[in-house]
Amino acid sequence: MAVTDTGQQGASIKRPSRLFKNKSAKIASIPMVATALVIFIGCTLWTIYHSFTNSRLLPAPEKWVGLDQYERLWNTKRWLVSIENLFYFGLGSLFFSLVIGFVLAALLDRKIRFENTIRTIILYPFALSFIVTGLAWQWILNPKLGLQNVVRDWGWESFTFDPLNNPEIVIFGILIAGIWQGSGFVMVLLLAGMRGIDEDIWKASRVEGIPAWKTYIFIVIPMMRPVFVTALVIISAGIIKVYDLVVAQTSGGPGISSEVPAKYVIEKMFLAQNLGQGFAASTMMLLSVMVVLIPWAYLEFGGRKND
């Protein structure tokens, strides 16, 4: 029950302190507050702090070593490879997801038949675990028994499609699986944005004789800027976290050629008994997210004061 101010009723009655106003709501919000403070802020700060220590098997807050861990991190080949992989994977994901997502959304926007069926087909991979996706594509890309073999059987003897065993392009094998899983979602997002466009705009452009493709490029896409930005932010956040897919599809191989930062962190933290490195690497991950997030947040909310 909300406690209301009792007002002046004599000196003997004290005004309930503001702390107890709206009691129930505050009590009910404890989980949220606790999570925000303890977990999101507290744990993050803890990890950042310990990234400056020389923790090995157990956290050692007393063994301060400054930027030592970071120095070592950026000199580790494995880490550098994972950053490079993330870069290519990220770029590829962004580009292909947005392009494929947009083209598919535009096609579905044309009021075609079977829209629901097609959308169901394009979107179902999103419902699967990355492990399922990774294993399925690992099988398809199997050189001896998978896609490569089938095409060779069809006559193209020298057809080679074995990304998962080629250190140079293994990240593209992962990209294929990643796009397969995620582009449906981007399409749904963009389609919703497209559908939010006033129908009269389409009528106006039709009366003026402007062909559909021009309308999409010069009018619709600029109008959809907010949706594109949202899609971009969400895809980017997902890219930095990529882990399950790599574990399932290639386990980081061949060798270390498909390592990604998230995997590096987990391995250092829990398998290699090198907590310090793990903390440093995860802090780097956090930094990269901030680099994407803070400009966006500023653009979206900058100037306006948050309550």
Partner: protein
């Protein structure tokens, strides 16, 4: 009486004009790309190993066999334990049910509080929560391990204080309460990390409920919980369904938390699946692997196909996955 010459009525359209061919053609090829893995998985899982070694993953099974499925479910080996995926399945279920219930219960109440009972600082905490959703989990994982372990120990100490009395009454005392490595630890983790999106979902929904409804209830004397249970809950069934879809899919498909916060006997299905397929030495039984993969994907796929439009709503609302 007008006589009509020249064009009249609807314009004759050729069904097979170039635009249509391009559109439907592209969509057809695209659908092939998306359906391919599913087809291959199903087909592989129904073949015997000799057939698979013939090397054509696209061909339907000449001889359909359900052996791989049986093997995957009850005989596949993770390490020395050869009880199949059924164990992982049960674990996943045991993780899923409490996680979904608790996380949605908490988030819905939080969202409701944020929408209708704002207090000083509530929006700030909410903003922190949302930003927290973008923080890579890796940054928070380890401290949570410590927290779970310590909480487990703490709870053990507290509960074991009652042991003398319980034993005197004839009951068994509390053993060691373990959070880290147990299913309940994982439940707590899923609740924590599900909070930002779910709270956002519920908060947005409750904000869209007309304020007059809320005010009328206040005038009638109802309080925080009264309004929640008697007014808000009954009318928010769709959003609860959306939240459930989101959580069931997310939690069932999770791998990272499963790998870190559980031990082999409490591995969820995804973790066990990865073990079965990727850590087998020697002969790989691809058909069993595919059957196992499909089994793991069945639950979320079922939810997906059953929920239709609601699924789309769910992901549009809470898109930060994995």
């Amino acid at each position: 009486m007008t006589d009509m010459t020249g064009p009249r009525g609807p314009k004759p359209k050729r069904v097979f004009n170039s635009t249509n061919i391009m559109i439907y053609g592209t969509l057809f090829i695209v659908c092939l790309y998306y359906l391919l893995p599913l087809y291959v998985m199903i087909v592989t899982s129904l073949k015997g190993m000799p057939e698979i070694r013939l090397g054509n993953i696209f061909s339907p099974p000449v001889e359909v066999t359900y052996e791989p499925w049986v093997k995957a479910w009850s005989e596949a080996c993770t390490g020395i334990n050869c009880e199949g995926l059924s164990r992982g399945f049960m674990n996943s279920v045991r993780i899923l049910v409490p996680s979904v219930i608790i996380s949605i219960a908490i988030a819905s109440v939080n969202g409701y509080a944020l929408a209708n009972w704002k207090f000083k600082g509530s929006e700030t905490f909410f903003t922190i929560l949302i930003f927290g959703a973008f923080i890579p989990y890796q940054v928070m994982i380890y401290p949570i391990v410590i927290l779970l372990r310590e909480s487990g120990d703490g709870m053990t100490n507290v509960m074991q204080m009652f042991n003398p009395m319980l034993e005197w009454m004839g009951f068994e005392g509390f053993g060691k309460i373990r959070l880290m490595g147990s299913l309940w630890g994982l439940v707590i983790v899923h609740t924590i990390f599900g909070m930002p999106i779910l709270t956002l979902l519920f908060r947005n929904y409750f904000t869209s409920v007309p304020e007059e409804l809320f005010k009328a209830a206040r005038v009638d004397g109802a309080g925080f919980w009264g309004i929640y249970f008697r007014i808000m809950l009954p009318m928010s069934l769709p959003i609860f369904v959306v939240a459930m879809i989101l959580q069931v899919t997310g939690i069932w498909n999770d791998f990272l938390f499963g790998v870190i916060y559980t031990k082999p006997d409490t591995y969820p299905m995804t973790v066990q699946l990865n073990n079965i397929v990727n850590s087998v030495q020697g002969v790989k039984e691809y058909n069993v692997n595919m059957a196992a993969t499909l089994l793991t994907g069945l639950v979320p796929l079922f939810i997906y196909f059953a929920s239709g439009k609601l699924f789309v709503r769910g992901i549009a609302a809470g898109a930060v996955k994995g």
